[in-house]
């Protein structure tokens, strides 16, 4: 005799409801990010500090209106921090701890595994942007509301593009290497990738970081549609990174 009543484990297999799976998975992803201190430092504290610094320290060159320009750039930085660096590091360690294997052995469909992560990332980005926007308004930012749909669109596009790049990095290499590279790339993009400062070098405009910052600046400061060029650059990076990532991402 076992200590379990007969019928306790009687098979009753079946897949859970898709909306509920998506909700629970996305909530888990977002919750884990928000609970992680290092992620909060990277995605919230540093962007907030830089927003204040760029807005009030006139020694840093910044086009007028100063707070608006700073806000656009810090929005871009927040997206890069969370969708690229944060996602890459999280994925590197998730693979190390076998969670992708664990989840892909459950009834969770593969597309939902990706969709849940994307939704989780979008929730985190939305919270970051909200916090930064409120701070910017306090600092004197005047947002032309006509830019709102474009800003939302760019935030989603930026999250997807940098998310794909993050998965490309975090899905293929060892966790420690991912950790180092993701932070180095973040710093390089911030300083010379056209995020904090405009870099008047041709090829920098072809970087996704410069493209996102430039596109956001148009919509955040002037309230108008971003140029086709930056958007095309973002889409191209996203598509290429996504296509590569589907081939290179390993479960463990």
């Amino acid at each position: 005799m076992t200590t379990f009543a007969p019928g306790t484990f009687k098979p009753a297999p079946g897949r859970g409801s898709l909306p509920r799976m998506l909700f629970v998975h996305a909530r888990t992803e977002a919750m884990l990010t928000l609970r992680n201190g290092e992620q909060i430092l990277l995605t919230v504290i540093i962007p907030l500090a830089l927003l204040v610094a760029l807005s009030v320290m006139s020694v840093i060159p910044m086009p007028e209106p100063r707070v608006g320009s700073a806000t656009a750039r810090i929005f871009a930085l927040a997206i890069i921090s969370s969708a690229f660096t944060g996602q890459a590091i999280a994925l590197g360690f998730d693979r190390r701890y076998g969670v992708l294997k664990r989840l892909s052995a459950s009834a969770l469909p593969r597309w939902l595994l990706v969709a849940g992560r994307v939704c989780g990332a979008l929730v985190v980005v939305a919270l970051q942007i909200l916090l930064l926007a409120v701070t910017a308004l306090v600092l004197g930012w005047r947002f032309p509301l006509s830019g709102l749909p474009w800003v939302v669109l760019l935030i989603v596009l930026g999250t997807l593009t940098f998310g794909a790049l993050g998965v490309l990095l975090g899905g293929a290499l060892r966790a420690e290497i991912v950790l180092a590279l993701a932070n180095i790339i973040w710093f390089v993009l911030l300083m010379v990738g056209g995020v904090a400062l405009s870099v008047p070098v041709g090829f920098v405009h072809l970087l996704p970081s410069a493209a996102l910052a430039q596109a956001l600046e148009t919509s955040v400061v002037h309230g108008t549609a971003p140029g086709v060029g930056p958007v095309a650059v973002l889409v191209a990076w996203g598509v290429v990174a996504g296509a590569l990532a589907t081939r290179t991402t390993k479960l463990t």
Partner: protein, 325 residues
């Protein structure tokens, strides 16, 4: 402990009652290579529904590779694999199986209960996660982040994740690795309960007692090939003359006199230093011959036992006694 099942179809040609039962797992001619190394080399096995099958083999024998191909994590290079009649890894199959990967799996920062709730949300009729957490002795660790759980706790959580969706077939890859004896007993008890409820269990192990205690069928594999299969009873079945008398004494005794005194057909050897084995038909006369010989030698025979072959003997005979790198 499990009750003996009287209704087991016997193995002498009885056809099970249900017509054409679909095997839980059917593997034939499976081949998997990693570079120049052939990990699985033409492996065949069939597992009937509702039975427990143990894949037994030394480290590197190809157990995990075989199971991971059945689970859909790896692609076979050759051969065919059907799980519940379906191709491994397909979306229609996954809700029907429960998987415990080797070494478990979870988000580093997730709490044990949150991980189980997440996997429970993927199932239509999950078991109660709170109950299962308690059953597996994880009640005190329910709010502990995954990376802070001990190896044994991670294993138990992984087992919970494999069972939560009420699957028809469960794959357990070294389920008791890293567990303390109490947890091991619990896993054995769970496997017995699963079987009683009609769940098929395919587990890998290199522990003989585990295979012997749990499995209806044992498939011993080595270097990617099946070297023996059958029920534990069949594998350890001894002919009348296939018994052993073992005893311990001072190492290096001269066995020639004993050998001469023993009846025809019995062999005696020093298996390992100080451990002597007499093989053949062991009767009271043989025991008496051995003890009186010991007395003549002035040695005390310790731990004198008469035994049939254990699964461990079968295993070592088939897979060799040397450690391999």
């Amino acid at each position: 402990m499990t009750q003996l099942r009287a209704d087991r179809p016997d193995r002498l040609g009885f056809v099970p009652v249900s017509p054409n039962p679909q095997p839980a797992v059917e593997v034939s001619g499976l081949v998997k290579r990693y570079g120049s190394k052939t990990a699985v080399d033409g492996l065949d096995l069939v597992q009937q529904p509702g039975t427990v099958l143990a894949l037994l083999g030394p480290n590197g024998a190809g157990k995990t590779t075989t199971v991971e191909i059945c689970e859909g994590f790896r692609q076979a290079d050759d051969g065919s694999v059907r799980v519940l009649g379906m191709a491994p890894g397909c979306e229609a199959l996954r809700p029907r199986i429960g998987v415990m990967p080797q070494g478990g799996g979870g988000y580093p920062g997730i709490r044990a209960e949150e991980m189980l709730n997440l996997v429970a949300a993927c199932a239509a009729n999950p078991l109660d996660p709170k109950w299962l957490i308690e059953v597996l002795g994880l009640g005190g660790a329910a709010r502990t982040p995954y990376k802070r759980l001990s190896g044994g706790q991670q294993q138990r959580l992984s087992l919970a994740c494999a069972l939560i969706g009420r699957p028809e077939l469960v794959f357990l890859d070294e389920p008791t690795a890293g567990m303390d004896p109490q947890a091991r007993r619990l896993v054995w008890d769970l496997v017995a309960a699963l079987k009683d409820d009609g769940v098929a269990v395919l587990l890998t192990t290199h522990l003989m007692d585990e295979a012997e205690a749990l499995a209806d069928d044992v498939v011993i594999i080595d270097e990617g090939r099946v070297v023996a299969q059958g029920s534990p009873a069949e594998l350890t079945a001894h002919r009348a003359d296939d018994q052993q008398l073992r005893f311990r004494a001072r190492p290096g005794l001269d066995l020639s006199l004993l050998s001469a005194a023993l009846p025809e057909g019995l062999k005696v050897r020093e298996a390992t230093k100080g451990a002597y084995v007499v093989e053949g038909l062991i009767d009271p006369q043989v025991v008496s011959t051995v003890t009186s010989w010991c007395a003549q030698q002035g040695v005390l025979a310790e731990e004198l036992t008469v035994a049939k072959r254990s699964l461990e003997d079968v295993f070592l005979e088939l897979t060799g006694r040397e450690l391999r790198s």
